[in-house]
Every structure is written in structure tokens, then in C-alpha cells.
């Protein structure tokens, strides 16, 4: 081996060590929590701490029902909020993105500015006025305000991302279909939408992650019946009795696995979307 090869070899090792450090930082907390959730209850606080238990057991998962008997119902509420919010957001945002991408009319600048400004709004400022309103409408402790307010805070970014994806599809493709008798919107639905399906998938996941993890609205607008999983986890955590960590880790694992898998599955489009959202605007 000559000196040049040796340097290349050394550089290769350093390079992989750096990558290992990056992956450790990003993934270790998740992996460690998931593995710990299968530890026997007595080993969760074993000292010295161990990466995995002496055996893998589901007993922490069985404990969930004992201490947080509503958890699976609350996960159901989270599913409702996520699906409902994603559906509404995508329908609303796709229609709007079509308008901003394909129609040129002077007054569109006003709603355009509105969605840009509103994207910056902190959700915490609307909870005070919405709380009495939802109360008057009898909607507190239902999933409705979570779906609707969640949608309102997702549509801006979803519209902007979808518009960027639509802009990449040449309008001439739609015009060809219009010659065949479609109107412009029909042509858009038939031609362009299928072409941006991966982009839509990314937006769906992006919005779904936000809704699935949403905590503030759920904390304020629900109490018992419509409580979502993050609030229940937070309540379980605020219980000062240290003996329930096994259950807490199991609840968290259940909550985390579906979204992490989803995000990793569409990560390419997500990366593209994040870059679009920040860099192109």
C-alpha cells in the first residue's frame, strides 16, 4: 500500500465514522425507546442501563389498558383527526393550487398574499377566541374543531407545495386534452393530477404528520371523549409515579411507528417538498 492509498483508506474510515455519528444522533433515541418498550418492567430502570432487556416481552403493552384505559379510543380519535384533516386539506389545497398555478386574474394576488401571511400565524393565538366559539357551538370535546382548525393551519403550506408541483407540469398537456372537449379543470384532474401523484403523496404525509402529532388544539378543545393520543401520553407522563415508564414507552412506540414508517417511505418526495417550500418559496 502506498501513501496515497493509505490516505484514501484513512479518509474512508473517518467518513464512515462521521456518518455513524450522524445516524446515531438521528436514530438512537427512537431505536432505544422502541427497544426499551419491550424490556421486562423491572429492567426499564436497570443500572447500568442496557440497550435491550434480558427477554423481549409485551407486558408493557398489556399494561397500557390498565393505567390509560382510553388510550386505544384516543388513538382512534387521532386517526379520525388525521384522516379527516388530510382529506379536507388535500381537496381544498388542490383546488386552490390549480387556481394559483393555472389561472391568471389580477385579484388572485389578494388570496395569494393571505395564504402566505397565514402560513406564519402561530396556532396558539387562535385558541383563545375559538374556545368560547366552539363551546357555544357545542363542539368542544369532539374531533370537529381539531379537524377544521387543523385543516385551516395546513392548507396554506399544502397549497404552496402543490402549486410548486403543478407548476412543473407543462400546461400544454392539459391544453391538448381540452381540444378533446374537456374543460380546463377536467383536463387538470385527468392529466396533471396523476402526474403529480408522488408530490401529492408527500403533501399528504407532511400534513398527516402535523395532524397526527398535534397537541395544542387537542389539549384545549377536548377533555375526555375526543381526547387524542398525544394528550393521553402527556397525561400519563405528568403522573409523578415513576413506576409507569414501561407503559409510557409502549404508548409512545405505538404512536410513533406508523408516522416514522410513512415518512421514511415517501422521504424522497418529502425532501423535494421541504426544499421547495423553503427555497423556491
Amino acid at each position: 500500500m502506498n501513501i496515497h492509498q493509505l490516505r484514501r483508506f484513512g479518509f474512508g474510515i473517518v467518513k464512515w465514522l462521521l456518518l455513524a455519528a450522524v445516524l446515531l444522533w438521528a436514530a438512537f433515541p427512537i431505536v432505544f425507546m422502541v427497544m426499551s418498550s419491550f424490556k421486562p418492567p423491572g429492567e426499564i430502570w436497570a443500572y447500568p442501563p442496557r440497550l435491550w432487556g434480558s427477554t423481549a416481552t409485551l407486558s408493557n403493552y398489556e399494561e397500557i389498558g390498565r393505567y390509560s384505559p382510553t388510550y386505544f379510543r384516543d388513538l382512534g380519535n387521532s386517526v379520525q383527526v388525521t384522516l379527516g384533516g388530510v382529506l379536507l386539506t388535500i381537496l381544498t389545497a388542490t383546488a386552490a393550487a390549480f387556481v394559483f398555478s393555472r389561472i391568471r386574474t389580477g385579484w388572485l394576488k389578494l388570496p395569494g398574499l393571505l395564504i402566505i401571511v397565514i402560513r406564519m400565524f402561530p396556532p396558539i393565538v387562535v385558541i383563545i377566541p375559538l374556545f368560547p366559539l366552539m363551546s357555544a357551538l357545542g363542539l368542544l370535546d369532539t374531533v370537529t374543531p381539531l379537524i377544521l382548525a387543523g385543516t385551516a393551519f395546513s392548507v396554506s403550506i399544502a397549497t404552496m407545495l402543490l402549486k410548486a408541483f403543478i407548476d412543473d407540469i407543462p400546461v400544454e398537456l392539459e391544453q391538448a386534452a381540452m381540444i378533446d372537449g374537456c374543460n380546463q379543470f377536467q383536463a387538470f384532474v385527468r392529466i396533471t393530477l396523476p402526474l403529480i401523484a408522488p408530490g401529492i403523496a408527500a403533501v399528504v404525509v407532511f400534513v398527516a404528520v402535523g395532524l397526527w402529532n398535534e397537541y395544542l388544539f387537542a389539549l384545549i378543545f377536548t377533555s375526555t371523549e375526543a381526547r387524542t393520543a398525544p394528550v393521553t401520553i402527556a397525561i400519563a407522563m405528568s403522573n409523578p409515579d415513576g413506576a409507569r415508564w414501561g407503559q409510557l414507552l409502549a404508548m409512545s412506540t405505538i404512536h410513533l411507528v406508523p408516522v416514522v414508517v410513512l415518512v421514511m417511505a415517501v422521504h424522497k418526495q418529502l425532501v423535494q417538498g421541504m426544499t421547495t417550500g423553503a427555497v423556491k418559496g
Partner: protein, 440 residues
């Protein structure tokens, strides 16, 4: 939790999963219509455990099971920590319709806002009275929730805070008796703080340190030095020498490692757990904790001893040699938005009758009635102390509508002094100015 409630939750989750496609938007939103014969009670987990005789020594009496069987009213529990209960009262109280029916209300919340949140109980009391109410109840406690001549709570779980110690640790460390003067707390804690052979750390004393619970512990400590944080007429004395000395005692205990280092996150459950695990020598605990500490499941069973609260030497007289401690009580109220008010009243009425009160006292829920207290005091020395304290002490703080802010201000300031090591007198002077505004 009841088994039936869990099943209902599971069944609902399955239903939801099945309806996943259509559920989305507005349809699934209304929640399920509440069933006729069910009741949702919002209270502490400990409250439910007491009623169902969970975690008590053999011989506890389940009073919810028979209630459910006899009335056909299924009782579900929405468990919450104390601060969560307090926020829930304010958040659910003004609503016209709530899933929750009965709520546990802590003494601090018995202020003039109660009529905004709770149903007046006089009509129910007239139609279906509670045996012995109110003349059998401790008078101050029974009068506390009456506003404009209307009653909003039935006092339910009463107790006093006094000193508990672990006589095993005391014997091991050569400590003879509990503290007589407040400085003894420090000296005993110092003697009783040590590391066991297996590396386990034992702490001399554990007080509660969460912002929510400091109020009570500091009230008791201030009384040991002969002072109050705020006088009953609202005069703020929180920067006067007795409170300064009490805070400095906490500060020294913390700094010198005689209290657990996570003091600021310890609330009642945490402190109790440490005590039951044989990890602390002394604590401030409820006089109703005999069943909690000496329950056969705890490591210190049979070795938890309740004793009187200390008092500075100068104030000790021939008839009074101990400090006042503090009192606490919970009341049961019906939320204005409850959809099952009659069932809610039936629940409150049944668990407040003398038989239930007696059974609950056996499970470790401090009685509010003089008769039951007298009975309990014969068997349980801690209850004799409770009777004394009830005669001498009052609320840790006078209560008004700003009480949450008052308690947070107090808790945050004391944490800042003890944990973040700020100057005691300067911080308490600042606190006094804040409290004066809140008591005006």
C-alpha cells in the same frame, strides 16, 4: 378503571377503525351520545383507588361496586392530577354540555367562581338529603362552599397534614423521637441521610416541591416558626421572619443534600412513593395516610409513625407544644353541563352517607364528619392528631378568585430560591408585592 369502561373504549376503537373511510369530517364529530345509566367522574386516581379499595391492606371495602350493582349506574373515572383537575374545573365549568358529571374540587378552588361552574345542590339536598348533613360535618369545611346562600359542594375527603417518620431508619441512625422544634427537622434529616451498603441513597426528609403543592408544605413550615404566609384578612406576611426562616430551612435541606435532588418535581404521589420505598426518613403527609404507608405492600409497613408537627421553642406553652400543620379537604360537585345530574346526586349522596364514610375511612380516605373522626381516632393515632389540627388550623392560604395565580407565584418563587439559589429575602419581598396585588 372499571372493566366495562375499558371494553367500551375498545369497542369504540374497533367501530372507528371500521368506519374509517366515512368517519372523517363532521359526522363522527359529535362523539357518542352518553348512555343513560352511566356517570363520568373526574377525580384523582387515588380517589378512585380509595373508593374501590385498591392498594389498601386486606379488609378494605369497595363502595363503588355495590353502588353500581344496586343503582345500575356505571361509574367511569376520568383520572387527572391535581393541577389538571383544577384546570378542568375552569374549562368544563362554563360549558352547557359536558361528558363529565361529577368533579372533585380541591379546597383552594372553593372561591366565588364556583357558582359559574357548578350546579347548586340545595334543591337536591331538600329532595334527597344526606344523613347527618351538614350538622355532623366540621363546620368550617361545610361552610366553605356556600356562596350567596347556595351550596355547591359536599365536602368529601378531609385530612390534616402532619409529620410522618420511618422508625426503622430512625432506630438505625440513632434518632430517638420526631422533631420538637423546626430546627430538629434539619438535625434529624442530617443524621438520617446516608448511603446504604447497596448504594441506595436515603434522604432525611422529603417535602413536596412542585409549584402546585409547595403552598401547603410551606404553610405548615411557616406555622412551625409561628407565622402565616397570608393572614385570613388578606394581609400579606410572606416576607416576614417566620416564612423567611421556613424557606431558608428548605434551602439548607436542599443545598446540603438532605432532600431528594428532584424536589422540584416531587408531588404527593412521588413523596409517598419514596416514603413507602424506605428511601426517606421523614415527610409531611396526610393524617389519613396510615393505610397508604402501613398497607402491607409498602416496604415500611408497620414502621410509618405519625407525630405532631414541631413548633419554635418561644411559642411553646404548657397547653400547646406542637405546630398547627395544615388542613385539606376535597368537595364533590356537579358540573353545570352534566347530562346526568340526578344520577350524579345519587352518587354523591350514597358515598356521603355514614356507612360509606365509615368504609372509606377504613380505606384511607379521611372523614369529614365529627362522628367518624371520633371513631377513627380510637384506632388510629394519626386520626387523633387530625382531630386536634382541625380544631386549631385553617386553610394554608385565604382563598380568592386569583388563587391559581397566587399559588403559582408562590411555588415559582420558592423554587427559584431553593433550586436556583436566589436571595430569600429579596425574592420574598418581590413575591409579597405580587401577592398584595392579587389579594387586593
Amino acid at each position: 378503571m372499571t372493566k366495562s369502561y375499558r371494553n367500551e373504549g375498545m369497542a369504540r376503537a374497533r367501530r372507528l377503525a371500521g368506519a374509517v373511510a366515512t368517519l372523517a369530517i363532521l359526522a363522527g364529530a359529535g362523539g357518542v351520545a352518553a348512555q343513560d345509566k352511566s356517570l363520568l367522574v373526574m377525580g384523582g386516581q387515588g380517589h378512585e383507588d380509595n373508593m374501590r379499595a385498591i392498594g389498601t391492606a386486606a379488609g378494605g371495602t369497595d363502595i363503588l361496586g355495590p353502588f353500581e350493582a344496586e343503582t345500575g349506574i356505571k361509574v367511569s373515572w376520568s383520572a387527572a392530577t391535581n393541577p389538571q383537575l383544577q384546570e378542568a374545573l375552569q374549562r368544563l365549568g362554563p360549558l352547557s354540555s359536558t361528558a363529565e358529571d361529577v368533579i372533585f374540587v380541591h379546597q383552594f378552588d372553593t372561591n366565588a367562581r364556583l357558582p359559574d361552574f357548578l350546579e347548586p345542590l340545595d334543591g337536591y339536598l331538600a329532595d334527597a338529603p344526606i344523613e347527618g348533613f351538614p350538622h355532623d360535618w366540621a363546620p368550617g369545611v361545610a361552610a366553605a362552599s356556600v356562596f350567596d346562600g347556595k351550596r355547591y359542594l359536599i365536602p368529601f375527603r378531609c385530612g390534616a397534614m402532619t409529620l410522618w417518620y420511618n422508625d426503622q431508619i430512625f432506630a438505625e441512625r440513632g434518632v430517638g423521637a420526631g422533631p420538637k422544634v423546626p430546627e430538629d427537622i434539619y438535625e434529624i434529616a442530617k443524621a438520617a441521610t446516608y448511603t446504604r451498603d447497596n448504594g441506595e441513597q436515603v434522604f432525611g426528609v422529603a417535602f413536596r416541591g412542585t409549584s402546585w403543592s409547595i403552598t401547603e408544605d410551606l404553610a405548615a413550615l411557616s406555622r412551625a416558626y409561628g407565622g402565616e404566609m397570608v393572614l385570613p384578612d388578606g394581609t400579606v406576611t410572606v416576607n416576614q421572619p417566620p416564612v423567611v426562616e421556613a424557606v431558608n430551612l428548605l434551602k439548607r435541606l436542599f443545598k446540603d443534600g438532605l432532600m431528594p435532588p428532584n424536589w422540584a418535581t416531587l408531588d404527593q404521589t412521588g413523596v409517598n412513593q419514596l416514603f413507602k420505598d424506605d428511601r426517606v426518613a421523614m415527610t409531611l403527609g396526610g393524617t389519613n395516610y396510615d393505610k397508604t404507608f402501613n398497607d402491607g405492600q409498602s416496604l415500611v409497613s408497620g414502621h410509618a409513625v405519625a407525630t405532631r408537627w414541631p413548633l419554635v421553642k418561644d411559642l411553646q406553652t404548657a397547653d400547646r407544644s406542637s405546630g398547627a400543620g395544615t388542613v385539606f379537604y376535597w368537595g364533590l360537585g356537579i358540573l353545570k353541563g352534566s347530562q346526568h345530574k340526578d344520577a350524579a346526586w345519587e352518587f354523591i349522596r350514597r358515598i356521603s352517607n355514614p356507612q360509606s364514610v365509615h368504609a372509606l375511612a377504613g380505606n384511607g380516605s379521611g372523614p369529614c364528619t365529627g362522628a367518624e373522626l371520633a371513631v377513627s381516632a380510637e384506632a388510629d393515632p394519626a386520626m387523633a392528631i387530625q382531630a386536634e389540627i382541625f380544631a386549631a388550623a385553617n386553610n394554608p392560604l385565604p382563598v380568592n378568585e386569583n388563587i391559581n395565580q397566587i399559588r403559582d407565584a408562590l411555588g415559582e418563587t420558592i423554587q427559584n430560591i431553593v433550586v436556583n439559589d436566589l436571595d430569600t429575602q429579596a425574592e420574598l419581598d418581590g413575591l409579597a408585592r405580587r401577592l398584595e396585588r392579587l389579594y387586593r
